[in-house]
């Protein structure tokens, strides 16, 4: 049950020979080498495996790899351009929104989708929390993460 899929991974066209039983997370980690994509719960509850598919966040652990065929996939590896961190990544660094780091790539991608969706539109802390509700962090208590996203949105508005 093998199939070739063509995806645009972080802006580059890539082809992968996949088993239809594989999750997108498995293909990204084992074949594409994008190891920022983490397996946490494996059942779509923790968000550690969050990637953007056509700019919408999904849990790649419960998304079949074959479904990504013909679509654009983004992981944190592609958010850093020309040696520059993305605004979301930079804000996470500045606010220290990281402790053990396992959940961080998923949070960065969920926050990226959240801040890109309605550029310039203000989001209060409640809206940010709702936007990140599909990601769990067991270390930070979320305050620094929410502040990082808030800061990133403020910066975009400047």
């Amino acid at each position: 049950m093998r199939q070739t899929i063509a995806i645009t991974l972080n802006g580059s066209p890539r082809r992968f020979d996949v088993d239809v039983r594989q999750s997108l997370m498995e293909v990204l980690r084992e074949q594409a080498g994008t190891l920022s994509v983490k397996q946490g719960c494996g059942v779509g509850e923790c968000g550690a495996c969050t990637v953007l598919i056509d700019d919408a966040p999904v849990d790649s652990c419960i998304y079949l790899a074959v479904w990504a065929d013909g679509r654009a996939v983004r992981t944190t590896e592609g958010e850093c351009r020309d040696g520059q961190l993305s605004p979301v990544q930079q804000a996470f660094v500045e606010e220290g929104a990281v402790q053990c780091g396992i959940c961080t790539p998923g949070f960065v991608m969920a926050a990226t989708a959240l801040t890109e969706r309605r550029p310039g539109e203000p989001l209060d802390r409640d809206a940010i929390r709702r936007g990140l509700a599909g990601n769990l962090c067991r270390c930070t208590g979320y305050a620094t993460i929410v502040t990082a996203v808030e800061k990133c949105i403020c910066r975009e508005e400047e």
């Binding site: 849990d59 419960i62 074959v66």
Partner: protein
């Protein structure tokens, strides 16, 4: 790797129906947020799949010539929520779907899958029940349409024969035009949780009276239910402080909640009465009326 033993991909409804007619043991998979989790946990009976994830004809929302809203069952929750027709004509459905999971799950899970999964806690169900929504079920040999209320057979069980596929969810024009609704989900957390109790109300008001109430609950019985006793107790009554109390009292004869690790039966009964009051009050407000609150 998911323990899938058989996999066929369909790109059209006809192709899916032909595959399922040939092999009725195949189970359709759309968004995967229920089935892939069952497979991950090793639950038997989900390993032979016909993949309808990319059947374009199952996705999208439109108004038909009669003014009915027709929702493609393969439409993911976030697309339903953001859809202009839904925002304009059926905002209560958007409210209900926005309580499901988190952003990632709402980008993957489909409204049709939420119904076909058949759990009593499906957040789409109460909102569809109060608008008299129907499901269209197609097979290789025919098509039938039934009320969402008749689709649920038992916990995890729906009236879907082998070889049948849910191809449309329809909300009749008269129902979404004349009724205004509200949905409240009571859960332990505000996200990534299933409902302890879900309640939808839809009302039509006539002057200072309640012309019609429709009330539906999730997790209040083995399947999502409408509440005929509460609805009868409210019909034609004045919009006064007593109305919400009448509904909250009558609804107790409509429901059969159970004890579970999630919540005790007595607690659920308490929540059911309170959600009935609140959903009714909000629905009346959404219909342009006002229900005074008599309670302290």
């Amino acid at each position: 790797m998911f323990p899938i033993s058989d996999y066929k991909k369909a790109t059209t409804i006809e192709e899916a129906l032909a595959l399922m007619a040939e092999d009725p043991g195949l189970r359709p998979i759309a968004g995967g947020t229920d089935i892939l989790i069952k497979l991950h946990k090793g639950k038997p009976g989900y390993d032979r799949l016909v993949d309808i994830h990319d059947v374009a004809a199952l996705s999208g929302i439109r108004l038909n010539d009669s003014g009915d809203i027709v929702i493609g069952p393969g439409t993911v929750f976030n697309q339903v929520i953001a859809n202009e027709l839904i925002q304009t004509h059926l905002p209560v459905l958007a409210t209900a779907l926005a309580t499901i999971g988190g952003p990632q799950v709402r980008n993957m899970g489909t409204i049709g899958g939420n119904l076909c999964n058949g759990v009593p806690s499906a957040d789409s169900a109460p909102a569809l029940l109060v608008f008299n929504a129907t499901v269209t079920l197609r097979s290789h040999t025919g098509v039938r349409q039934l009320l969402v209320a008749d689709f649920f057979k038992g916990p995890g069980e729906v009236d879907l024969a082998p070889g049948e596929l849910l191809t449309a969810i329809t909300i009749p024009a008269a129902d979404h035009r004349d009724h205004f609704g509200h949905y409240i989900k009571y859960a332990m957390r505000d996200a990534m949780d299933i409902a302890t109790i879900g309640c939808a109300a839809a009302v039509a008001i006539e002057g200072d009276r309640l012309g019609d109430l429709r009330l539906a609950f999730g997790v209040a019985a083995p399947v999502p239910i409408r509440c005929p006793a509460a609805e009868a107790a409210a019909k034609g009554r004045p919009l006064d402080g007593e109305l919400a109390e009448r509904v909250a009292a009558a609804v107790l004869s409509d429901v059969r909640p159970r004890d579970s690790w999630r919540a005790a039966k007595d607690f659920r009964l308490q929540i059911i009465g309170e959600l009935a009051r609140r959903a009714l009050r909000h629905a009346v407000m959404n219909a342009g009326g006002r229900l005074p609150c008599d309670r302290p």
